[in-house]
């Protein structure tokens, strides 16, 4: 027998207002891309809207439910590198405008990257100069491998190996 708690428009909007920022921050931290985070947020709430008649409070409230949907959306984004818009199409949600500069800043604030940034800074400090250099070129400056190889005076294959090893060491420092 169905729970109709989220069926009324006001109830769904109240639910949205309660969780929208947390969901947006969840995506912003994991994608590091505000535009993608905004699309995933819209897709998640469109899916929640489409499924609202089946919402059941299992005791831990609607947050558990909506973050379950968000996790699935994020997994599919990781797999395909694109944000689906099935749910938005299904309920007729219009395309959104590009984010304003103010929104980009506020989403950064919302995501609060400070703890992550500090952890990365500490891990980078523990790497060798060579590792830091190669990660700077590839990860920070997004230079193509042929250019990195030319700058480092090595083959393209060797540049790939150095980047890979640098990332592995960075990951090791972050994990520890």
């Amino acid at each position: 027998v169905k729970d109709r708690a989220l069926v009324a428009p006001d109830a769904f909007v109240a639910f949205y207002r309660e969780h929208a920022e947390a969901v947006l921050a969840f995506f912003a931290r994991r994608t590091l891309d505000a535009e993608v985070a905004a699309d995933l947020t819209a897709e998640t709430f469109a899916a929640a809207y489409a499924a609202r008649a089946r919402f059941r409070d299992h005791g831990d409230g609607a947050a558990h439910w909506v973050f379950g949907i968000a996790r699935n959306k994020l997994s599919r984004y990781y797999r395909s590198s694109r944000v689906e818009r099935d749910a938005r199409d299904r309920i007729g949600l219009p395309d959104r405008a590009p984010l304003s500069d103010d929104d980009l800043t506020r989403i950064d604030d919302l995501a609060d990257f400070a703890p992550t940034g500090e952890a990365v800074r500490q891990a980078l400090a523990e790497l060798s100069e060579a590792d830091r250099r190669v990660l700077q070129l590839r990860v920070v400056e997004s230079r193509p491998y042929p250019e990195i190889a030319s700058l480092l005076g090595c083959s393209e294959q060797a540049a790939r190996v150095r980047v890979s090893r640098g990332l592995q060491r960075l990951d090791g420092h972050l994990a520890s």
Binding site: V7, A8, R17, Y49
Partner: protein
Amino acid sequence: MRSDAMPEISFLQDLESDLRAIAEQDALRAPRRRARRRVGLATALGALVTAAIVFVVIGNPIGGAGSRIDAAAEAAVAPPNLIEHTVELTRLVESGQTVTVRQERWVATDSPASWRELNDDPADGGPIEQAESPTTVSSYDATGAVIYERTKPVNWKGADHSMAIDDMNVVRRALADASVSDQGTTTLDGQTVEQFDFGSRDTNGQACSYYATAGDLRPVALDCTNLLGHPWLSSHTTYEWLDPTPANSALLSLEGVHPDARIESAPLGECVQGQHYFGPSDPRDAPCAVNAPGG
């Protein structure tokens, strides 16, 4: 978490406006569906009155209906030490399309707080799998093969409190207070069954038919139709009780059905927002990872 203030991010404000407009539009469509149903309901009521007159004139063709309802009520009480397995198919209309959502659940009959549930909803982008035990609640991330498990506090709502919703309780209440009408023997998916119809306040205006086995009146299925015009049209739930073999008992937990999954544990209520555990890779969850049992 926000409650009354408008979100400061204009994207979120725009999204809220769009969702509100869609919700209000959909709400306006519902009365039209209700109006169409009233015509059908009038016909059905006419048929019911006719049937009632025939019933009074020729007598109850079934005989001993009260005792059959009592027997069905008794048989609907789950025996201990079994596993109740239910599959619920819900039909909905969304944006003019009919969608079917499948929910499958396994519940220990002597421990309602031990269950696993698999929800396959096209709108969710993939199945959502959750479980509860007397000491934990957990969810499964199929992509990373990770079980996110949260330990309940010691004073958690009592050991027998279950977060699962058991529609059979509605059936049991209806049978117990005899607010059902005995429809006699019928056929459901090729099986001869006994049919009991009801529509009490418990069902929020839904009309339900409960089917029990012809012999011992054990639960077979529950069909409910939504008369109020909300987005879902009908649900069809089938029941079976499984013996507690090791293989069947494994169906009650995420660890049982995903033995190779990695388990990330955290205490319930000490994680972000007190609601959700994001996993140790999220810096906000550091206290959860530190406090994890055995970790």
